[in-house]
């Protein structure tokens, strides 16, 4: 018998279940793209068939990190850049949970870049949503890792000399097995992509374009957007790493030229998840570790039985 009876309930799920009992007034500005992420996620959950109490949403710091405050589930609002290591360990301790991590572009591609690279490399079965608004919002408008070259701000008064990070390419080279970009202004596609990302058995990286009307007024509102799957102008195989890589490169460049290319860029359904890899080598138990502590019949091993090697 499981100690976690919220997991695997077979019932209808309503998107309203993901609205907190007492809904805190959002700290997001009117017109903020972050509302689009919240809405798309609430819509995707019933599609995936997971309930609030079998879902763990781990967020970083920034406007994006407040997602866990406005989304009802088990939530963990962690520290700047560290949502991924918290999330992936929770997934390993209890793989039956639906685990989602979320943060901003500074959080994920800047301070937490190392974790992004390694979590993608390990291919944990989880979804990572990066709120990409090309700016640091909560600290009032500093240049971020995805700000365009030449971006002027109080911390880069003469314009940034750095080329922006290529988030999709970084996800691909690091090992993410699902890479997509969507935009707050495209709610239907966002819902579909988040649904696919959660259903994907591996690390799904979603670069989510979230316009910042307060601190990034100069930037586009990410309209008009083009869905590369729907457009006849882009023909490439999302299962082919090389073709995907070229498409990503083009989309990353196009963004700074005013062309918003969204959609699925890479999907690898054959790559085993980290859990599967570890279980195959005997480095991870078949039964969720978290269940063991509630199993009264489990015979806990003792160090006393290891002492022969010390005699």
């Amino acid at each position: 018998m499981s100690a976690f009876n919220a997991i695997g309930e077979d019932r209808e799920i309503d998107r309203d279940e993901f609205t907190p009992e007492i809904e805190p007034q959002a700290t997001w500005c009117p017109g903020c793209g972050d509302f689009g992420v919240l809405k798309a996620l609430k819509q995707a959950m019933p599609q995936v068939g997971r309930t609030p109490e079998e879902t763990l949403l781990v967020t970083g710091i920034g406007c994006s990190g407040k997602l866990s405050s406005y989304f009802r589930s088990y939530g963990f609002h962690s520290i700047h850049g560290r949502s991924l290591p918290v999330a992936r360990a929770a997934k390993m301790a209890n793989p039956d949970l639906e685990v989602i991590a979320a943060g901003g572009d500074g959080d994920g591609y800047g301070i937490g870049g190392n974790h992004f690279m390694h979590t993608a490399r390990e291919n944990h079965d989880m979804t990572y949503i990066v709120f990409d608004n090309e700016i640091f919002g909560l600290t009032k408008g500093q240049t971020s890792p995805t700000s365009p070259k030449g971006h002027k701000s109080k911390t880069q008064p003469h314009g940034s000399a750095k080329s922006p990070i290529r988030p999709l390419s970084l996800g691909l080279t690091s090992g993410a097995s699902y890479v997509a970009r969507t935009a707050a202004v495209n709610p239907n596609q966002a819902k579909e992509i988040l649904t696919e990302a959660m259903e994907h058995d591996g690390f799904a990286h979603v670069d989510f374009l979230t316009q910042c009307p307060t601190w990034n007024k100069d930037a586009k509102q990410y309209v008009p957007y083009i869905d590369i799957q729907d457009s006849d102008d882009y023909d490439f195989d999302i299962h082919d790493r090389r073709e995907a890589s070229e498409m990503m490169h083009e989309a990353e460049d196009a963004l700074y030229e005013g062309e918003v290319l969204t959609g699925r860029f890479y999907v690898d359904e054959d790559r085993p998840s980290y859990q599967a890899e570890k279980q195959a080598t005997g480095d991870m138990p078949e039964e969720p570790l978290a269940e063991r502590y509630f199993d009264d019949d489990y015979e806990w091993e003792r160090s006393y039985d290891l002492l022969d090697r010390h005699k």
Partner: protein, 629 residues
């Protein structure tokens, strides 16, 4: 110091197999009924560089390294760099014979490998031998090893020669070799062992008096290090998740856990950095596993922010910190106790954590268990602070220390039934209630029905929502900090972590923490034998601090010498900070040269201080006067 003790030093280069050879020899001495303590000295290099292990063996209890040594097996550094003219590292090849040679006691024995070393390269070697009544046996260990096997087996030849000179039975040594190797390698080693043994017995005239002491142990002993104590304590508390990044000397615990977790159906993760390592432990614990992480000073610095996250989200974790000489990369393989304040206060905001500093392998075991128990009962980070000396130094302890029942209890976690009742009573589950008993508010686990909540690094209200309300802030801060008071009471009732040694009514005291326990106690024994009146207390409850016990100890003595392996008297400052008094009574004896204290250094430090002196000549230790309050 016991009259009848062997301090056998095997010296060579890194990569010469010193470690494994000494382990087996130490176990052979243990099997012959002796108490054994080892001290390992090694450079931060893979191949080459003077390294040695001292094995101190006696029928009496041995708690520390000894003063110097009385038997030297000098293999020479076969991986030495070629000395250039005026190379700053000198001639490395000869160092295993020449370095610290003056610490060899009068009447001591030297075996050296004349296949590699030429004693005439050492200044006044013959004169010094004569002056100190040393007994020198030169053998071509390398030649012997090459004749029957490979060159690295010359350490086996050295052991054979040692056994011959000390009249040791070869059987236990052979048994241990049989456990460790097989096939041709075993055959070759056995041949070399016997050949060296026979060659000494037949071809050399013995002039020395030193023989192996004889001993008997009342109960079965095990040969373990502090790292084993920590790892086994964690396993017996049901810890089945560890995350880490390699760093000397913490890697010992990390490796031991990893090896055993794969057998015990647990999970070990090697991750990208220590920020991730600590964060993973938090994530695993949050989801319902008993989890730990750890590092040494530099890696622990990266854990600062996750540590604070665990404090404010009240996520139980155990971290271990294996100190080494700092600052920065410092001296990676050398012991020091310089991270005390780092561990106590690192991370922004008021710190709220448990810190234990065990003094020996048995204390490592018991206090790691207690650290887990407190962490999970009180939802607080607990840190086990130790150092390179305790990490790598092995000693014999009774196997019964580990004969304890496992405790996989998750502590203050609610069940789904509790959650159902909470829903009936209050409408919903409140994760962070104001009035939790002893400051503890029971937690739910993701996946439990009716338990969803937000854990946040931001200040939060009872249900977990971010809140900057002033009254809520004060209430939550006070509740979290109150957990340390509850833990203080828990420790006073259920634990006995401070080790007091020596006559109760002594006039003087020696205070230490962590791994200096053994050397302090041995110094106390010697000082009392010499007619002084002194006792020691080793403090393990660093936070919450053992206020009552230390106060009582300090009230009972005229003056106390605080010994610690750092340069700025951090532990003394901690005592004064915690107690707010005794400033006029506390003198310091500090050592920070990369080597642990020898008992003689504590003895002379004490005596010099007693006579009002400020300088301890001949030793790399420093006295610092009392400062007043």
């Amino acid at each position: 110091m016991t009259d009848d003790e062997l301090i056998w030093r095997i010296a060579g280069g890194s990569g010469d197999g010193i470690d494994s050879t000494s382990q087996n020899f130490a176990k052979a001495l243990m099997r012959s009924g002796l108490n054994v303590f080892t001290h390992r000295h090694y450079p931060s290099r893979i191949r080459g560089g003077h390294t040695y292990v001292e094995i101190r063996a006696s029928d009496e209890e041995v708690k520390s390294r000894g003063d110097g040594y009385n038997f030297l097996l000098a293999l020479g550094d076969s991986f030495a760099r070629n000395p250039q003219e005026e190379a700053y590292y000198g001639n490395e090849e000869i160092k295993p014979l020449s370095e610290n040679l003056d610490e060899l006691r009068e009447g001591g024995v030297i075996i050296y490998d004349k296949g590699l070393l030429d004693a005439s390269e050492i200044e006044n070697f013959d004169e010094r031998v004569e002056e100190n009544d040393w007994h020198v046996y030169d053998l071509d260990l390398r030649g012997l090893a090459k004749e029957y096997g490979r060159e690295v087996m010359r350490n086996t030849a050295g052991v054979g020669a040692t056994a011959a000179l000390l009249d040791l039975d070869l059987d236990p040594i052979e048994d241990l070799m049989d456990d460790a190797m097989s096939g041709d390698v075993l055959e070759a080693n056995l041949t070399i062992l016997h050949d060296a043994y026979d060659s000494l017995k037949e071809d050399y005239e013995f002039t020395h008096d030193l023989r192996a002491p004889e001993g008997t142990n009342d109960e079965e002993q095990v040969f373990v290090s502090g790292s084993h104590g920590i790892a086994y304590g964690a396993l017996d508390e049901g810890c089945r998740f560890i995350s880490g990044y390699p760093m000397t000397p913490w890697t010992d615990v990390y490796t031991l856990m990893t090896q055993n977790l794969s057998e015990f159906g647990g999970i070990s993760e090697q991750v990208e950095d220590e920020i991730a390592a600590a964060s993973l432990a938090i994530g695993a614990s949050h989801a319902g596993a008993k989890a730990m992480s750890g590092s040494s000073g530099g890696g622990f610095a990266l854990m600062s922010e996750p540590l604070g996250l665990a404090e404010i989200t009240e996520t139980p974790i155990v971290l271990v910190e294996a100190m080494r000489a700092g600052p920065s990369t410092g001296m990676p393989t050398k012991p020091e106790q310089g991270d005390l304040e780092h561990v106590l206060y690192t991370s922004q905001g008021d710190s709220n954590r448990v810190v234990f500093a065990p003094g020996d392998p048995a204390e490592c075991y018991r206090q790691t268990r207690k650290a887990f128990e407190l962490a999970y009962d009180y939802q607080i980070p607990a840190i086990v602070l130790y150092d390179q000396k305790l990490s790598g130094g092995h000693q014999t302890i009774p196997e019964s220390v580990f004969d304890e029942e496992p405790n996989p209890d998750l502590g203050s976690v609610v069940s789904e039934q509790d959650l159902e009742e909470a829903a009936k009573e209050a409408g919903r589950f409140k994760r962070y209630v104001y009035d939790g008993e002893g400051g503890v508010s029971p937690r739910s686990l993701p996946g439990q029905k009716g338990g969803n909540f937000l854990a946040s690094g931001n200040e939060h209200n009872e249900v977990g929502h971010i809140s900057e309300d002033p009254d809520n802030r004060v209430t939550q801060m006070n509740r979290r900090l109150a957990k340390l008071d509850s833990i203080s009471e828990d420790l006073a009732e259920n634990a006995d972590h401070q080790a007091v040694h020596g006559p109760e009514d002594a006039d003087y005291g020696i205070l230490s923490f962590g791994s200096t326990k053994g050397v302090a106690e041995e110094a106390v024994d010697r000082l009392n034998e010499e007619g002084h009146s002194v006792k020691s207390m080793n403090v393990s409850d660093i936070m919450p601090f053992a206020k009552d016990e230390v106060t009582e100890f300090l009230e009972s003595v005229d003056e106390a010498l605080v010994i610690e392996m750092n340069a700025t008297a951090q532990f003394r400052r901690h005592i004064q900070g915690q107690l707010g008094r005794f400033g006029e009574k506390l003198y310091s004896l500090l050592k920070y040269d990369g080597n642990p204290f020898e008992p003689a250094e504590v003895v002379s430090g004490f005596e010099v201080r007693l006579e009002g002196g400020a300088d301890v000549t001949d030793h790399n230790v420093r006295i610092e006067s009392a400062t007043g309050d």
